[in-house]
């Protein structure tokens, strides 16, 4: 079986074995075009690796855990992370490794190379999805090259590839990946040329940067752009970049450095070089029979071709779905640092101050017209902050994922989510709030007469306890809780406090020693020069983890101000009071206040799906998101009352947990959520309390009913329903600590 090919050996019929990239490079090399020294690791090597190690079966189990049409992007990312970790932990079979080492040593010895993906069918005109798989620059030595071949193989299962699995036909049984190993050309200027501009087909486009191409490809470095008339070959326009950065080889990999002043003021290409690149693309278009998308570099005035592929008709920007948006959420460290400053220094302080200033307005003093204006104003404010939340807070959550990727690459842990333990215990606002509630419960527990009074629904007048309860209820009252007055909320809260007092102190998991050990493990596995970066990234990820939960609470406080204003309108108008207290219907409330003849449309609520009693779900599959095993009575959260009816030891089952509703978590024995992902709020809070948690269970809140007896296996991600067990037979709840 042939594992390696030199470009001179590759025939057209070998394409399935060497992939699109290697095949195109071979054609160019055989035409004596300036291609760097290259060898190709064939798909045979990938297949041997997958089959001899049993990895293909492992990937199959993970990849088909859930149906794709039921998966969110976050779940695809999780699936990809798990698979990537399987690759990282699986050694290449020794005979295969030895064969590859010999060839790599013979060709490159210890010189720097680029290790690139060469997927089968990747570069064909009908299915090109550039950027789905990985490439690595400046890799040295056979062992390192071998490790990076494995990383490229693993990228067959990148989140982007899974997202486009239908288009690229990604299937476990048929999957294959070839790898190109190419001498690293340390070009002084690099770029790409599109033989036909995607926007204006009469033009060709050249983009160029100083240094290596990596910066241009991943968007770190802004390129200069030239438009060339395809017929005449004349340069039609040149758009200079704000030249500031350059990507250069580091001791290992690449680094971004500042560009020298001289180069900042000078375009990376002369007109002469632009025309040479254009001419070369023309030649390639003729050779391949279609317009090409070519990556090139100038090595001391010598033009070298790094890869060429047909320009595809697929315009991913025009995707009717949100896939490009999901992929845009993946940010680099520098961008994440910028987002952190923006969120911590601007967005959150401004949100807090805006909520505070709105609180000061005495709504009762406003005339109807003024109240209508105020509601409108508050609705605009909510929209403004929601936009900020989507633009800045959601992308910032990628800090957690970036840290996870770096951690797993360095440590290769058995559990691919081990890195989360380093991010937990970062004083989430929801946890702080729960601790406040626990303190009130402890007071109740210690004071029998207070407990008797509270049990009768009363509070001691003018007491500190009463004030604290009122303040807490005020903070808890967000639009999420819907139509509930503060006095009702307070009464519900007292019931909750009694329940908590009877349960005793909820166990919040403290793992300081384990965290310290993991941190040491991470640093020990990082090269010395990267340790500072690892610590900086961990710090950023901790903020990202904390804010992922907290920013919803800040947003909730802003939305509450809109709710208060609509509540005021409710109190004064019988017509308004017919509109459900929902901040999304603020515009109708405004119309009612302004026009006494306006009658709101009645909206029929969506009928509740009735479960077919002949089909009884027995065992549901999701993702294990919090380890442990618990059995208990389910409490399905469909409306506010369900939250306040929560009893200790119950399993919280819901569509999606919002941080504004996690105050009942200290009472819960486990969490089951329809929404999937390891980083969703339910999973975050479950880990804080060491609760078993299964997320991504399709229709969990419809298939499970309150009082169903369920077992939550947080190790395997399985929820078992045994409805017929009477409540008195409730098993003792256990979690991993107990």
């Amino acid at each position: 079986m042939k594992f390696t090919y030199h470009l001179s050996q590759i025939k057209k019929s070998d394409q399935k074995c060497v992939g699109g990239k290697a095949s195109a490079l071979a054609i160019m090399a055989q035409e004596e075009l300036p291609v760097p020294k290259t060898i190709c690791i064939s798909t045979n090597a990938y297949n041997i690796f997958m089959d001899e190690t049993g990895l293909r079966a492992q990937v199959l189990m993970e990849y088909h855990r859930k149906q794709f049409d039921q998966m969110r992007w976050e779940e695809m990312w999780d699936c990809s992370l798990r698979i990537q970790n399987m690759f990282a932990r699986t050694p290449i079979p020794s005979t295969l490794a030895a064969a590859l080492m010999v060839e790599i040593t013979n060709c490159f010895d210890n010189s720097a190379v680029a290790v690139r993906s060469s997927a089968v069918g990747e570069d064909s005109a009908s299915a090109s999805f550039a950027g789905l798989h990985e490439s690595y620059l400046n890799v040295r030595g056979p062992e390192e090259v071998l490790e990076h071949i494995k990383l490229v193989w693993a990228s067959t299962w990148s989140d982007a590839a899974i997202l486009y699995q239908k288009e690229i036909g990604l299937e476990v049984e048929k999957s294959s990946m070839a790898v190109v190993i190419q001498e690293l050309i340390q070009g002084q200027e690099s770029g790409v040329i599109f033989g036909r501009s995607p926007v204006d087909h009469s033009k060709a486009v050249i983009e160029a940067v100083y240094g290596l191409n990596q910066g241009l490809v991943d968007g770190t470095v802004q390129p200069d752009r030239w438009m060339i008339d395809r017929d005449s070959g004349k340069i039609v326009s040149h758009t200079p970049a704000q030249r500031a950065k350059i990507v250069v080889p580091a001791a290992k990999g690449v680094k971004v450095i500042r560009l020298t002043t001289g180069k900042r003021n000078k375009p990376p290409l002369t007109r002469h070089k632009v025309k040479d690149i254009f001419k070369l693309e023309k030649r390639l278009a003729k050779l391949f029979g279609s317009d090409q998308d070519v990556e090139w570099t100038y090595d001391h005035s010598k033009l070298r071709l790094l890869q060429s592929r047909p320009i595809t008709t697929t315009d991913k920007a025009k995707d009717s779905d949100d896939r490009q948006w999901y992929l845009s959420l993946k940010r680099g460290f520098e961008n994440l640092e910028d987002l952190r400053s923006k969120i911590e220094d601007e967005i959150i302080p401004e949100m807090v101050s805006e909520a505070e200033s709105l609180k000061k307005i005495d709504l009762k003093q406003l005339k109807d017209e003024e109240l209508a204006t105020e509601i409108s104003h508050r609705a605009d404010i909510c929209e403004k902050w929601k936009k900020q939340y989507w633009d800045y807070c959601i992308p910032f959550a990628h800090g957690i994922r970036l840290f996870g990727t770096v951690y797993n690459k360095a440590v290769k842990p058995e559990n691919p989510y081990e890195f989360l333990e380093l991010l937990e215990g970062t004083a989430l606002k929801s946890v702080q709030r729960n601790e406040q509630l626990q303190r009130l419960a402890n007071k109740l527990k210690a004071d029998k007469s207070l407990r008797v009074l509270v049990r009768s629904g009363k509070l001691p007048e003018d007491s500190k306890f009463a004030k604290e309860v009122a303040a807490y209820a005020q903070e808890l009252l967000t639009p999420l809780l819907g139509m509930i007055s503060q006095s009702q909320l307070q009464a519900k809260m007292l019931e909750l406090l009694i329940e908590m007092a009877e349960m005793g102190t909820a166990k919040k998991v403290i793992k300081d020693q384990a965290k310290s050990n993991l941190e040491k493990r991470l640093l020990a596995n990082m090269p010395k020069k990267d340790r500072t970066f690892a610590l900086e990234l961990m710090d950023l990820a901790r903020t990202s983890y904390r804010l992922r939960d907290d920013d919803n609470i800040y947003l909730g406080q802003i939305e509450k101000q809109l709710l208060n204003a609509t509540q005021e309108a409710h109190n004064r108008s019988s017509i308004v009071s017919k509109i459900p207290l929902d901040i999304l219907r603020a515009d109708e409330i405004v119309k009612c206040l302004r026009d006494p003849n306006y009658r709101p449309e009645s909206r029929k609520s969506k009928p509740v799906e009735i479960q077919d009693r002949q089909i009884m779900p027995r065992q549901l599959i999701g993702q294990p998101a919090g380890s442990g095993l618990a059995t208990g009575s389910a409490r399905v959260i469909r409306k506010t009352e369900d939250l306040f009816a929560f009893k200790r030891g119950e399993v919280l089952v819901c569509d999606a947990i919002d941080p504004n509703m996690t105050f009942v978590i200290p009472l819960a024995s486990a969490i089951v959520e329809r929404r999937g992902g390891m980083l969703i709020h339910g999973a975050i809070i479950a880990r804080e309390y060491g609760l078993p948690c299964v997320t991504g269970v399709p229709d969990a809140d419809k298939l499970i009913d309150t009082e169903d007896q369920i077992s939550v296996d947080g190790y395997l991600g399985i929820v078992t329903i045994s409805k017929k067990l009477p409540i008195k037979h409730l098993k003792t709840t256990t979690n991993k600590d107990g």
Binding site: A57, L60, M61, H64, R613, Q614, I615, P617, D699, I718
Partner: protein, 150 residues
């Protein structure tokens, strides 16, 4: 959510495609499993199979009529872990009167015409498992129960 109609359709297709299932019986705490050729009615309630009266499974059924029949579409490939479906029908087994008019026996003969001589033999019994519940497993661990008498 799984609708009953789509689940029933899926099950009917599985039962029509498969010819053989695994029958589980027991007597005096001694469990036993055997392969049987089966046919099923459109309402998915009656699973017909045949066996010589001298067999262990027949003897077990005579002693205890409770039995289970497992029908699956595994192909002995690794993809079975995610793609295979297995259904266990649980209920009571009764012996059928061998008559040309018996619709269950006709159903059985239509599916397994090569077994016509086999069931004609006076030593062969034709039996029917009247299923109360079908336990359906797919996607490795996803399980639903279809209660047929509810």
């Amino acid at each position: 959510m799984e609708s009953q109609m789509s689940l029933r359709k899926q099950l009917k297709e599985l039962f029509d495609k498969q010819r053989i299932g695994v029958l589980s019986t027991q007597k005096k705490n001694r469990p036993y499993a055997s392969l049987v050729a089966f046919a099923v009615t459109d309402d998915l309630k009656s699973f017909v199979f045949a066996t010589p009266r001298t067999t262990r499974k027949y003897s077990n059924i005579m002693a205890s009529s409770r039995a289970a029949l497992l029908i699956d579409n595994r192909s002995n490939r690794m993809s079975d872990f995610r793609r295979a479906m297995a259904v266990t029908a649980v209920g009571n087994v009764r012996e059928l009167r061998k008559s040309g008019k018996n619709r269950l026996i006709r159903l059985y003969k239509e599916k397994h015409s090569h077994l016509e001589d086999f069931i004609k033999s006076p030593t062969c019994a034709v039996l029917c498992l009247e299923a109360e519940t079908l336990h359906v497993v797919d996607h490795f661990q996803h399980v639903v129960e279809l209660h047929l008498n509810k």
